[in-house]
């Protein structure tokens, strides 16, 4: 029997529905997530199925409801909060990086904060500079937080389930451009643990590591490079904290070449940490210095003509790989 196929959005919706159904401690909070089913419809139908005590609309008060989620988490709920666009977390940053991230530590383990902050990130849909970032970097320097990204429907389901099951706060970054993408879906497959990267394409000549929308771009680049005789391995890093450096090192020990692609400016992205770690552990295996691609060092421009050029794409990734390999 072939796998069912669902969209990334549907996979997330299934994950939330299954979590709500299995564990009465799970509650959802966010702006317009209940009656309206969410700005991007990720929570569609959940209010009708689980009722207003489980699926809660909130006022426009990110500090208020993120903090309330921390309070709920402290007493055994498992709140999942939607941040409609990633940048909106900027008005409530303190509740994530200080309150949620540190309460286990500050209380010496008396309490913990099993909550998930679902953050809708990503460029490509013309939302402009204040609604298009992925914002992983806002969180990666905060011990106590885990930072998870999903690039496929299958991972969207399983990683969100793992995030909800995690006893500690998880920032779960979704990419709005992926919501309509379809992919295979096996909800009963083995869980995808947090902290494990995935080799999504095997190859011998070059390792490309990416996350979120950059995974599909890298895979497309790999296809076109294959036609030119370049055999690329693509790794979806999936979790930024904790980061699965082992999988990347293992790959690089075979390919000897590394290109990291992220949807953030390199000045503050996660690719630097990954490259530094790989270099420290696989220096001798590397034939070339690892290369990185990221968003231009600018806010995301609105105009369609500009936005697409500000972010790495299959074409620019393939071009960079070709240059790297000296072809």
């Amino acid at each position: 029997m072939p796998d069912a196929t669902v969209t990334y959005r549907e996979a997330l919706n299934h994950a939330l529905a299954d979590a709500l159904a299995e564990d009465p401690a799970v509650v959802l909070l966010g702006e317009d997530i209940a009656a309206a089913g969410g700005s991007f419809k990720v929570t569609d139908g959940l209010l009708a199925r689980f009722g207003p005590d489980r699926v809660m609309d909130t006022p426009i008060s990110e500090t208020g409801f993120l903090g309330a989620a921390v309070g709920l988490a402290l007493i055994g709920f498992r709140p999942v909060v939607e941040i409609m666009f990633a940048e909106f977390a900027g008005v409530a940053f303190d509740q994530i990086v200080t309150t949620a991230a540190k309460h286990r530590y500050l209380s010496a383990g008396q309490m913990h904060v099993p909550m998930v902050v679902r953050v809708v990130g990503g460029s490509g849909l013309g939302f402009g500079a204040q609604h298009s970032q992925t914002t992983e970097s806002w969180y990666t320097a905060t011990p106590g937080l885990k930072v998870v990204t999903a690039a496929s429907p299958q991972d969207a389901y399983h990683l969100l389930r793992s995030a909800i099951a995690d006893p500690d706060p998880v920032v779960f970054i979704e990419h709005k451009r992926l919501y309509v993408r379809r992919g295979p879906f096996q909800p009963t497959a083995a869980p995808v643990p947090i902290g494990r990267a995935a080799v999504v394409r095997s190859g011998a000549d070059l390792t490309i590591v990416a996350s979120l929308a950059m995974v599909a771009e890298s895979l497309a680049a790999a296809e076109s490079l294959a036609a030119a005789g370049i055999d690329v391995e693509v790794i979806d890093i999936r979790t930024l904290v904790p980061m699965d450096v082992d999988t990347v090192v293992a790959s690089v020990s075979r390919t000897a070449r590394l290109l990291v692609v992220e949807e953030q400016p390199l000045s503050g992205g996660w690719s630097g940490h990954l490259v530094a770690e790989v270099v420290s552990r696989a220096f001798e295996s590397l034939e070339l210095p690892p290369a990185r691609m990221g968003v231009v060092e600018a806010p995301i421009p609105f105009s369609h003509a500009l936005e697409a050029k500000a972010v790495p794409s299959a074409e620019t990734i393939a071009a960079r790989a070709t240059t790297l390999l000296g072809r």
């Binding site: 609309d57 426009i60 008060s61 402009g128 600018a298 609105f302």
Partner: protein
């Protein structure tokens, strides 16, 4: 001494009407451009709220500062932004007010005192306090007027801004356009007060409730409040009761709104109210009104057509204006 607020003379009211029709036609055209797949991203239109933008603009001088939100087209046009440059921005073209880098949510023209659209709810309010504080520090008579929604009154920035303006007694006017909805949520689901204006009590700040669909009422209230701010009387919170005739953004049909509510507010369309006021004045005829409607229709159609032909921005724009 504060001069009394005056009603607009018929000629001025006709001009206000023209401005309102311009906004309405502009917004309707944006929706059509969106349906023709020419607009990327999101748009947040203000049909039904034109009287707020126009009534306030009429009470301001070109030196005054305004700031507003993603639902800002009306405020930009009311203070004189070129419709062609506004369309071009929304279409992402090089002739746009922000050379295509901002888009619908960020129409800005500093020369006209249009200091910015802020697309993060509430984030424009503290900036507006700074603009007013600056005028105050320079002993100028400028005022800073900032527009935001009913939903925005639930966010922390609202609270901090009103308190700060009050303690500084800065010339800042907080205009809440209460259109009953924040996105798809009716106001009574997100706050327990009926009138946002009561929130001024928390800062010992004067407040006022105005019929936001009656441009005359808005204009008169605006004059009084602006004059108070200009003459050292400090900030005011003004709530303009109005209605968002369309959905929250481009693709939202607004189906969650009770039909009777929609009908009753459409009957109080600000254009209808102003047309009645014009005719009642005796010095404006239906023909005058029709002439305005026609000339606006032509001008907006031409502006949109020109914007559609405008070139895309140069790729070098991507990294221009990040730093000096």
């Amino acid at each position: 001494m504060t001069p009394a607020a005056l009603p607009a003379e018929p000629a001025q009211l006709l001009e206000m009407y023209r401005s309102m029709v311009q906004i309405r036609t502009f917004e309707d055209t944006v929706q059509k451009l969106y349906e023709k797949a020419l607009v990327h991203g999101s748009t947040h239109l203000c049909q039904g709220q034109e009287a707020v933008a126009v009534g306030w603009a009429a009470a301001l001088t070109p030196d005054d500062y305004t700031s507003y939100t993603y639902r800002g087209h009306g405020h930009a046009l009311a203070r004189g932004m070129s419709p062609e440059a506004a369309f071009a921005e929304i279409l992402g073209r090089s002739t746009g007010v922000n050379r295509g880098k901002g888009g619908s949510m960020h129409l800005t023209d500093a020369r006209l005192g249009l200091m910015g659209c802020f697309a993060i709810v509430g984030s424009g309010l503290p900036v507006a306090v700074g603009l007013g504080r600056g005028a105050q520090l320079r002993r100028e008579t400028r005022v800073s007027v900032t527009f935001f929604g009913d939903g925005a009154s639930n966010i922390g920035a609202f609270h901090e801004s009103l308190n700060l303006a009050a303690i500084w007694k800065a010339p800042v006017i907080f205009v809440c356009e209460n259109n009953l909805y924040g996105e798809y949520s009716r106001i009574n689901l997100t706050t327990t007060v009926d009138d946002i204006a009561v929130r001024a009590t928390a800062y010992a700040m004067p407040s006022q409730i105005v019929d936001g669909n009656d441009v005359q009422a808005v204009y008169q209230a605006a004059q009084t409040v602006v004059e108070r701010a200009r003459t050292g009387g400090g900030p005011t919170l003004v709530e303009c009761k109005t209605y968002r005739q369309r959905g929250h953004s481009r693709s939202d049909a607004g189906a969650y709104r009770p039909p009777e509510e929609v009908t009753s507010w459409l009957a109080r369309d600000p254009l209808i109210i102003t047309r009645r006021q014009l005719l009642d004045s005796g010095s404006v005829t239906s023909a005058d009104i029709a002439a305005v409607d026609d000339s606006v229709a032509t001008a907006i159609a031409n502006a949109a057509a020109a914007a559609e032909q405008a070139p895309w921005p140069d790729l070098a724009e991507i990294t221009r204006d990040v730093h000096a």
